[in-house]
């Protein structure tokens, strides 16, 4: 029976989760689930909380449970059950958890799909991750009418926001900036060579972007053979001792500086020779080191395109700034979508709700009539008159509430009106779906 506000809350669409905003990586990592593990967990949780529609979104940056249920289900309890399975006590994370109900849950999901809640604003990976989560839940059989509608709409929302705003445009990482420059200097990265001086993590990330776009040959010049060996193992390529790079400067098309040297390692004079040896073909140079590995004079040479850390940071900041300028527009689009979805949801709800109320009326009427006719002998005519009169009573009593709820359904904010309606008439599971 629905007796308390908590009960109302639980017959509801809800979401509970942890994300990169407040939860450190070590915990997020442990909660991350994929593939068969995810499907198994969905089934397990569905068994523990029967009659609950459930989707688990589990990525390296967030773990969220979306649920819709008729019973009294505490979303936190459900997430706690999931976390417990990974040896994490949810009670210790209560200040990191966030919870949303009804329209707020819808809005959250739409924002997530639009990239508005991501660590890197506007990133596009998340949409694919949400789709994967939804498909996994389908496979595990834990989705139902409401979550189907919700997730389908969220994909549309995510796509729309990205198409109609610039929230996903521009380059916002060193790697993608570097790749863009490379693609505007060289007609084809295949067959090109990159040389990393040193072996910083950023340099590795940048090279990964280039390798991903078709660059084939990698040279690593490092003092430490082990660190270089690690990179070679991961990405292939050739190791050169750092002291010997002067002889190899003509080989790379892309040169990345990333050593801890306190002086520049590459100067214009040496570069001039190397460029002549290369037939003056263009060279992209990215100096990620501080202090710089490449002397700035090198950037004045004709075929050289030199970008240092400041340049790259500025471009990333510009890109992020442009995305941030789109946030207001994106949020407005999300709100619009939420309103429309809420309307659709209420339309879905409306008929069954009215039908269940009528059924309640019919059940009560039938019960009372049966009892009356059992106690008192009425003739056919009297019976019919009583039946008709009682029918009219029930219809008239229910007429106004039904009209009111239909009115409420047309208005955008019907969600809580519906919840209250259910509560008012104590309509429950089995009766209204």
């Amino acid at each position: 029976m629905i007796e308390t506000a908590e009960d109302v809350r639980s017959v509801t669409l809800a979401l509970v989760g942890l994300s990169h905003h407040r939860t450190p990586l070590e915990i997020r990592e442990r909660l991350a689930l994929a593939g068969d593990q995810l499907t198994a967990e969905l089934r397990r949780l569905s068994g523990r909380f029967p009659g609950t529609e459930l989707v688990l979104l589990s990525t390296c940056n967030r773990t969220e449970a979306y649920l819709f249920s008729q019973q009294t289900v505490d979303p936190v309890e459900l997430l706690g059950e999931m976390a417990g399975g990974r040896q994490i006590n949810i009670a210790h994370l209560s200040d990191q958890l966030y919870q949303h109900d009804g329209p707020a849950a819808v809005r959250h999901l739409f924002r997530v799909c639009s990239g508005l809640d991501s660590m890197i604003l506007g990133e596009t990976q998340i949409l694919g991750q949400v789709k994967t989560a939804y498909l996994a839940a389908n496979q595990a059989g834990t989705t139902g009418k409401v979550l189907h509608a919700l997730f389908q709409e969220s994909f549309r929302a995510g796509k729309l926001v990205r198409n109609q705003t610039r929230i996903s445009e521009g380059r916002v990482s060193f790697g993608s900036v570097a790749l863009t420059f490379a693609q505007k200097i060289f007609s084809d990265l295949r067959g090109k060579t990159a040389l990393i001086l040193g072996a910083g993590e950023t340099a590795e990330l940048v090279v990964e972007h280039l390798l991903g776009a078709g660059l084939e040959n990698l040279l690593i010049a490092n003092r430490s053979a082990e660190r270089a060996a690690e990179l070679v193992r991961k990405h292939g390529g050739e190791w050169l001792p750092l002291e010997a790079i002067a002889k190899h400067l003509h080989r790379p098309d892309v040169l990345i500086g990333s050593t801890a040297s306190d002086r520049p390692l590459i100067h214009a004079a040496a570069m001039r020779e190397a460029l002549a040896r290369r037939g003056e073909r263009p060279m992209l140079m990215l100096d990620l080191a501080v202090p710089r590995d490449i002397h700035p004079d090198v950037g004045t040479l004709d075929p050289v395109f030199l970008y240092d850390l400041d340049d790259l940071q500025q471009m990333v900041a510009d890109g992020l700034g442009r995305r941030e300028a789109e946030v207001a527009k994106a949020e407005a689009l999300v709100k619009d979508h939420c309103d429309r979805f809420d309307l659709a949801l209420s339309e879905m709800d409306l008929e069954p709700l009215i039908a269940s109320l009528h059924r309640r009326g019919a059940v009560i009427r039938t019960q009372e009539l049966d009892e009356l006719f059992a106690r008192q002998p009425f003739d056919e005519v009297q019976r019919r008159q009583i039946e008709k009169a009682t029918q009219r009573i029930v219809s008239q009593l229910l007429h106004d509430p039904v009209e009111e709820i239909k009115e409420a359904a047309k208005d955008g904010n019907s969600y809580f009106a519906f919840q209250f309606f259910r509560r008012l008439f104590r309509l429950r599971d089995g009766e209204n779906r």
């Binding site: 420059f181 395109f305 500025q314």
Partner: protein
């Protein structure tokens, strides 16, 4: 007999309008948010068809190869060769930004066409000779390639500027990579140079055989030879791998200056007897 009739005027104007439309479509692509394909090409192709028909009609009307009959016809033919070379390049390279740069140049050249619309000369039987035809056709084809190389050079410099400005701009993403532009410029010259050589050799042989006096001192001839030497040096330096992309662009742009001078200005400014009777 030489004035354009109504049909010819319509064809000429029609091709200009289509080229202009191509230019507008190209430019709007350059500045638009969405990354569309190359919508300008069908429009340009149609304009090219109209212009081809126009040249054919003029040929029939004049009785011989039109460019021999004066500046107007020659400019029309030059534009035709530029479009021909451009379409060839466009067919091989997916570079949707090309129309935005090539077509405005074509429209400007068309301006020259309308300025000289009444300068058609009906005599000159010398142009009935095969050698002279070939000399002119190959010269114009060569000019067409050099104009395209010029545009590639311009685009190169613009793109290089974008890259050195250290900002991500939409223009940068719309323009092709530098390597592609330098390569296209070089290959256009590589195509045009033999054509120019053939043209000059034919012209020299013809003049020598005819015993024309002092043909070597004619300004147009000198200018053409300087242009030839210039492009020869360009190709040689490029083959020796001495030239960076930027220098390739500079050569392509300067070379076009030479072409303009040779063709248009020597006649205007310095007189001289070319074409020789």
């Amino acid at each position: 007999m030489n004035a354009l009739n109504l049909g010819e005027k319509a064809l000429l104007l029609g091709s200009l309008l289509f080229y202009f439309s191509g230019a507008m479509q190209g430019l709007s692509f350059l500045f638009s948010r969405r990354d569309r394909g190359v919508p300008a090409v069908p429009v340009i192709l149609f304009g090219f068809l109209l212009q081809t028909v126009f040249i054919g009609l003029r040929w029939r009307q004049l009785g011989s190869f039109p460019p021999g009959h004066g500046r107007f016809e020659a400019l029309v033919f030059m534009i035709w060769t530029v479009i021909l070379v451009y379409l060839t390049v466009q067919a091989r390279t997916r570079a949707p930004s090309l129309p935005a740069f090539v077509m405005p140049v074509v429209v400007v050249l068309f301006g020259g066409v309308f300025l000289s619309i009444d300068e058609t000369d009906s005599k000159t039987p010398v142009f009935r000779e095969y050698w002279v035809y070939s000399h002119m056709v190959t010269a114009f084809l060569a000019y067409g390639t050099f104009v395209v190389a010029f545009v590639m050079g311009l685009m190169y410099l613009i793109q290089e500027r974008q890259l050195r400005a250290k900002k991500m701009t939409r223009l940068m993403s719309r323009l092709p990579p530098l390597e592609t532009l330098a390569d296209l410029a070089y290959r256009a010259v590589l195509l045009g140079f033999p054509l120019l050589t053939y043209s000059l050799v034919l012209g020299a042989a013809r003049a020598a055989m005819q015993g024309t006096e002092n043909w070597l001192a004619d300004p147009k001839v000198i200018s053409a030879m300087v242009t030839w030497i210039f492009y020869a040096a360009f190709l040689a330096a490029r083959l020796a791998r001495w030239l960076s992309g930027r220098k390739v662009a500079y050569f392509s742009i300067l070379g076009f200056g030479g072409v303009l001078f040779t063709y248009l200005l020597t006649g205007l400014i310095m007189g001289g007897a070319h074409p020789f009777q």
